[in-house]
């Protein structure tokens, strides 16, 4: 098995799918000759030609519309939004067009599109680059939303997303792109969309999280173990729409305590949804309310205080203690 960074795994997934299916197209701003601003598409235009991998004019709504139109003609577009903060410029094409195609046409047309965007904090990007906007995406009916936390999952989930006949938004956390390597099998394999992963087993409390917060939560779990001898279970959702409720419930029934950690602002997000589902289906298994660790309800913090604004292992441990001491 090869050791890859997450970005290498992402490139590998796209290479495999471009080679496997001539209907797969890859486009966006700077994805061609330049190989993407993060090099996620590096070498793919050279390998597959300008008809398969191409640069677009600088206009995000155009990119979304192009994806919808190409989907109508039988292609399977991978459309890159250069940074998540630019998604508003194409949100109509995602929320009102691509995701509604099957519904509006009674199944006559579909949008087999994979939207990709770098997102996520802790890397000191300028404004409107890192914003955790996944809550907006998860509240969009008809859209699947995937957030891998490691190279293995990234490759397998991206291949699943490209093969999916419905639109999938694939969020790539910028901090995870090159921060570590992981084992990634050669060739094709898939990780199913909609299945969570128990990344660390534990007995006393469950942390439900996704993306870069998986790693922050694992650090918090270590701290809690060291400080209080608590054995924390950590679940990586991997897909935040739809959410794998079964895996969450099985864990909560075992540990009877849970917290949800998300990078995004507090209100009405993925954490709120997870808590609602636990309330609906496992309330009698709980020894304490399910709490959440999130960023505050402000615009994404400027670089200087970004690291304080985002959830830290210490804040997670504090919340673990609140739940344990309830």
């Amino acid at each position: 098995m090869a050791q890859m960074t997450m970005i290498q795994a992402i490139t590998d997934a796209m290479r495999i799918e471009l080679a496997r299916d001539p209907n797969v197209l890859l486009f966006g701003e700077d994805v061609g000759k330049n190989g993407g601003v993060f090099r996620a598409t590096d070498g793919l235009q050279k390998e597959f030609g300008e008809h398969r991998v191409f640069d677009t004019p600088l206009a995000e709504s155009g990119i979304g519309g192009l994806a919808v139109g190409l989907g109508l003609t039988g292609f399977r577009p991978i459309a890159e939004v250069q940074f998540i903060g630019f998604v508003f410029e194409t949100f109509d094409q995602i929320a009102s067009q691509a995701t509604r195609m099957r519904y509006r046409s009674g199944g006559r047309y579909t949008s087999p599109i994979t939207f990709r965007a770098p997102f996520g904090g802790g890397v000191k990007t300028p404004e409107c680059h890192a914003d955790p906007l996944e809550g907006l995406l998860t509240q969009t009916p008809g859209l699947k939303v995937v957030v891998p936390s490691n190279p293995y999952d990234a490759k397998g989930l991206l291949i699943s997303a490209i093969r999916d006949n419905d639109p999938v938004f694939f969020l790539e956390h910028m901090k995870l792109y090159r921060s570590f390597r992981g084992e990634v099998p050669e060739g094709e394999y898939t990780v199913p969309i909609g299945k969570a992963n128990v990344v660390k087993e534990g007995a006393h409390l469950t942390i439900i999280t996704y993306g870069a917060m998986v790693h922050t939560s694992l650090k918090a779990a270590e701290l809690a173990k060291k400080e209080r001898g608590v054995d924390v279970e950590v679940i990586d959702l991997r897909t935040i729409q739809p959410i794998d409720t079964e895996t969450i419930l099985a864990s909560v029934r075992k540990t009877n305590r849970a917290i949800v950690v998300q990078e995004a602002q507090r209100s009405a997000g993925v954490a709120a949804e997870v808590i609602a589902q636990i309330n609906e289906k496992a309330i009698l298994h709980l020894e304490a309310p399910v709490l959440r660790v999130t960023a505050p309800d402000t615009p994404y913090a400027f670089a200087q205080i970004e690291d304080k604004w985002l959830p830290t292992p210490e804040r997670i441990v504090k919340t673990i203690n609140e739940v344990l001491d309830f």
Binding site: L25, G62, G65, D92, G106, G107, R108, D166, P242
Partner: protein, 372 residues
């Protein structure tokens, strides 16, 4: 034909020498028939057989009657959302008539006639109006999208469909429609620019019917024409008398030919007028239009003009007209009956149409809805 191109000959320089203020001051809309039905531009007379000319008239009369019936049915509560089309028949029907069956139409909310004449069954148009999902479940060989409600969204999608045909080396074009208001949208510029940059076979038709609900063209844009907005995208721009079905046909046919020949996209501005309100949902045109303006445009009625032309060639008679009117009334009655007989939509059916495979959460929601 008046295809606008960029270049020094078409540009007028301001006296200071570096400020361009005009795109082409000699620019004239394409017009084949005068308002009294005489051929005034023989060179641009499209090559249509007598049968095709009669068919154009048949479709325009049919559509006028269907529009009148649809308005009446809406007032009786038997239809839902409906945007009247009278006045725009030449622009709608002339443009669709210039297409091939395999060409793809991405309509705006008013563009139901193009869909129907491209193959959408009339009863499904009525189901669409009633908010029934089957209204969009069209036969496989009918290459159209549902009417677009978001103004301009279809324009960027049309660039995508057109690029798809180009990548597949298919001799097909994508045509999309919007109004004068739609030409103010960012998506309008993005769509034209994308199609221009990719030399994709798209045809962008702006039906300039003078009003975006109540806002007149003069408040919509400072540009002299909408056609000239093509210059910014590097594609040909054409302005057509949109009350002249032969001129519209000619402009769209030429644009489609250029698209099929690999010459890329075209913007076509049709100068037209909607005789009725914006939609039947409470719009009152007397608040923003004058009687003088209405009667001025009624003089240009596309049906009257083309009827005069056909009558002068002995291709149309009162009997023909009466026959089409009856045919239209009967077709509408049958379509409404078929729409009435179509089983109602269900919430379960709606949930089932969200994804290829239903996720657990939606299965649960479906079961819950079915249980109450």
């Amino acid at each position: 034909m008046p295809v606008q191109t960029k270049g020094p000959n078409n540009q007028k320089q301001h006296q200071t020498g570096y400020i361009y203020t005009n795109v082409d001051e000699t620019f004239q809309p394409l017009q084949v028939l005068s308002t009294d039905g005489k051929v005034i531009d023989e060179a641009n007379m499209p090559a249509l057989s007598d049968d095709q000319l009669r068919e154009l008239m048949r479709r325009m009369v049919f559509t006028r009657i269907w529009d009148q019936r649809a308005i009446a049915l809406n007032r009786q509560g038997r239809l839902g959302f409906y945007a009247p089309v009278a006045g725009q028949e030449a622009s709608m029907i002339g443009s669709e008539f210039a297409l091939n069956k395999e060409d793809f139409i991405l309509p705006g909310y008013r563009d139901i006639p193009q869909l129907v004449w491209h193959g959408m069954p009339l009863y499904q148009a009525f189901l669409y109006s009633r908010g029934h999902q089957h209204g969009g479940q069209l036969p496989q060989d009918v290459n159209v999208l549902m009417p677009q409600i978001i103004i301009g969204a279809q324009i960027v999608e049309a660039a995508g469909v057109a690029l798809g045909y180009k990548l597949r080396n298919e001799k097909r074009v994508a045509i999309t429609y919007t109004g004068d208001g739609g030409s103010s949208q960012g998506d309008f510029y993005e769509g034209l620019n994308f199609a221009g940059a990719y030399q994709a076979p798209a045809i962008f038709v702006v039906q300039n019917n003078r009003f975006a609900i109540s806002v007149p063209l003069e408040k919509q844009t400072k540009a002299e024409t909408i056609a000239q907005k093509a210059v910014a995208a590097g594609i040909p721009g054409v302005q057509v008398d949109g009350m002249d079905v032969l001129a519209v046909y000619k402009a769209v046919k030429d644009a489609a030919d250029r698209g099929r020949n690999g010459e890329g996209a075209t913007l076509i501005e049709c100068l037209t007028y909607r005789f009725g309100p914006h939609t039947l949902a409470g719009d009152d045109p007397t608040r923003y239009r004058t009687k003088e303006q209405e009667s001025e445009w009624e003089q240009k009625d596309p049906l009257t003009r083309f009827r005069k032309y056909l009558e002068s060639k002995k291709l149309w008679s009162e009997e023909d007209e009466t026959q089409v009117i009856e045919e239209a009334k009967q077709a509408v009655a049958e379509a409404i009956k078929q729409a009435d007989e179509t089983p109602a939509m269900t919430v379960s059916g709606l949930i089932d149409s969200m994804f290829e495979t239903l996720p657990e959460s939606l299965k649960e929601q479906k079961a819950w809805f079915e249980g109450v």
